[in-house]
């Protein structure tokens, strides 16, 4: 991994000013809407709106481009896999069969399959910007406060926040150990024999686990000495009260969720079918 995973990017934007709890609820509603529907009209609307919200946040595409490109590569692989394993899924769903390119038997390329996979791709394009946005506009400390606010025990909420903070540390550790071992002649590439490569994997994983765990005692003692866990409840330095804009945002996203469900299922099916006359 040549770059850090997503981390908080501070900006004076309306998205940043929403509380983490409100953004979490909005994100869950949004993802649920994108997950439930296969209606192309709904997906296109959600995609357009994702672009608009991204613009409002003032996060630049290049700031998240590494992760975006990585995800898009696997989206491509996913689409290829869908075609390889289930090439007539679209025909089954939409009930007609318009062959565009004959490749033989079940691997004929059909308009229905392309349309189906277009919908799958739109789902990615809808959810990915929202996920990236939530991560880069919400500070980890405030994230823990948000989880606690929606009812998660503060110990669990804090553990989630800790895990979030540990991710870049472990990444850095992994990179350092990998380079140190490579400097000693360890080779993970295809040039090495199978069993040698497996042994080399051990040489990275074992010190990664041990050095990561090395800090546990220090962190445990530091937290206990500061009184963590003594009370049933706690206050949060980073917590923010709900304002009108938070209620408004959640209400708006709830409306979008309801509308997408109604539009999608009004005729009893999840799929918008342009192939029916």
């Amino acid at each position: 991994m040549a770059s850090e995973m997503l981390s908080y990017i501070d900006r004076p934007s309306p998205v940043h000013r929403l509380t983490g709890a409100a953004k979490l609820l909005c994100f869950l509603l949004w993802s649920s809407a994108a997950m439930l529907t296969y209606d192309t009209r709904v997906l296109l609307f959600l995609f357009a709106m994702a672009i608009v919200i991204f613009r409002i946040s003032r996060i630049k595409w290049k700031e998240v481009s590494f992760v975006l490109i990585f995800i898009l590569v696997f989206l491509l692989i996913n689409n290829i896999a869908i075609y390889l394993f289930s090439p007539q899924e679209g025909v089954k769903i939409y009930g007609t069969r318009h062959v565009l390119l004959e490749l033989g038997g079940r691997y004929d390329v059909t308009a229905e399959q392309l349309f189906y996979q277009f919908n799958i791709t739109l789902k990615y394009f809808t959810v990915i910007p929202a996920a990236l946005l939530f991560m880069v506009t919400t500070h980890p400390s405030e994230f823990a406060a948000s989880l606690n606010r929606i009812g998660v025990s503060y110990r669990i909420a804090y553990a989630v926040s800790l895990a979030l903070r540990y991710i870049p540390d472990i990444q850095r550790e992994f990179r350092n150990i990998s380079r140190a071992q490579q400097a000693r002649g360890l080779d993970m590439s295809k040039k090495e024999k199978l069993h040698r490569r497996l042994k080399n994997a051990f040489s990275i994983l074992a010190p990664l686990v041990l050095s990561s765990i090395d800090r546990i005692e220090t962190i445990t003692n530091a937290m206990e000495l500061r009184g963590f866990g003594k009370k049933k409840r706690r206050t949060w330095y980073s917590a923010r009260p709900f304002h009108k804009r938070d209620f408004l945002a959640v209400f708006l996203f709830a409306l979008i969720f309801l509308a997408s469900v109604l539009i999608t299922f009004h005729d009893g099916r999840r799929f918008y079918n342009p192939f029916l006359p």
Binding site: F74, E89, A159, A163, L164, L205
Partner: protein
């Protein structure tokens, strides 16, 4: 449960998230790190802590942190066609850990426990995939079960060997208790 155990679980949740993005390039069957990390976690921590770690991992991903394989995130992954595998990791961690706790934390038992645990996400994932993606059984098995058998067994062996070694050292260093981190 002690504070130390919460922090251990959080650390392992993060580690699963990082290792899920790592691939060891082998011919024909590249080994991805996600299931390896789950097995490693269960072998090192035992049933209770590893289950907590995996639940934390799922919470991270649910909330949008890109910790699922290939930097995926969000409820659409957990509740999409491949969500069954991720939900299956929770009982995997518990069952792998409980087998080790009922027997002993040694290599032969770890191999057995990890191999048994490895089948759980394949089973839950395949059944889930069949319903979520509206596939026939043969399609679901061919795409969601069969290709993962050989890599799964290989990963079970790696997780067993490495996990036992690491756990031994952690007990020597007093980071873990001997009986499997009882709280």
């Amino acid at each position: 449960m002690k504070l130390k155990h919460w922090i251990l679980a959080a650390l392992f949740a993060a580690m699963i998230g990082v290792l899920a993005q790592v691939t060891i390039p082998l011919p024909l069957v590249p080994i991805t790190g996600q299931t390896l990390a789950i097995g490693l976690c269960a072998t090192i921590l035992g049933s209770k802590l590893s289950t907590l770690a995996v639940v934390l991992y799922c919470l991270l991903g649910l909330a949008g942190a890109p910790v699922f394989a290939n930097l995926h995130a969000g409820p659409s992954v957990l509740f999409g066609p491949t969500g069954g595998y991720i939900f299956g990791f929770i009982p995997t961690a518990y069952i792998t850990g409980i087998i080790l706790e009922k027997t002993s934390f040694r290599l032969p038992q770890a191999l057995l426990a990890n191999t048994a645990g490895m089948f759980i996400p394949l089973a839950t994932g395949t059944v889930w995939l069949k319903w979520a993606a509206d596939l026939e059984w043969d399609e679901a098995l061919l795409s969601g079960f069969v290709p993962f058998l050989l890599p799964g067994i290989l990963k079970a062996a790696i997780a067993a060997w490495l996990g036992i070694e690491v756990r031994k050292r952690l007990i020597q260093a007093k980071v873990l208790e001997e009986t499997g981190a009882q709280g």
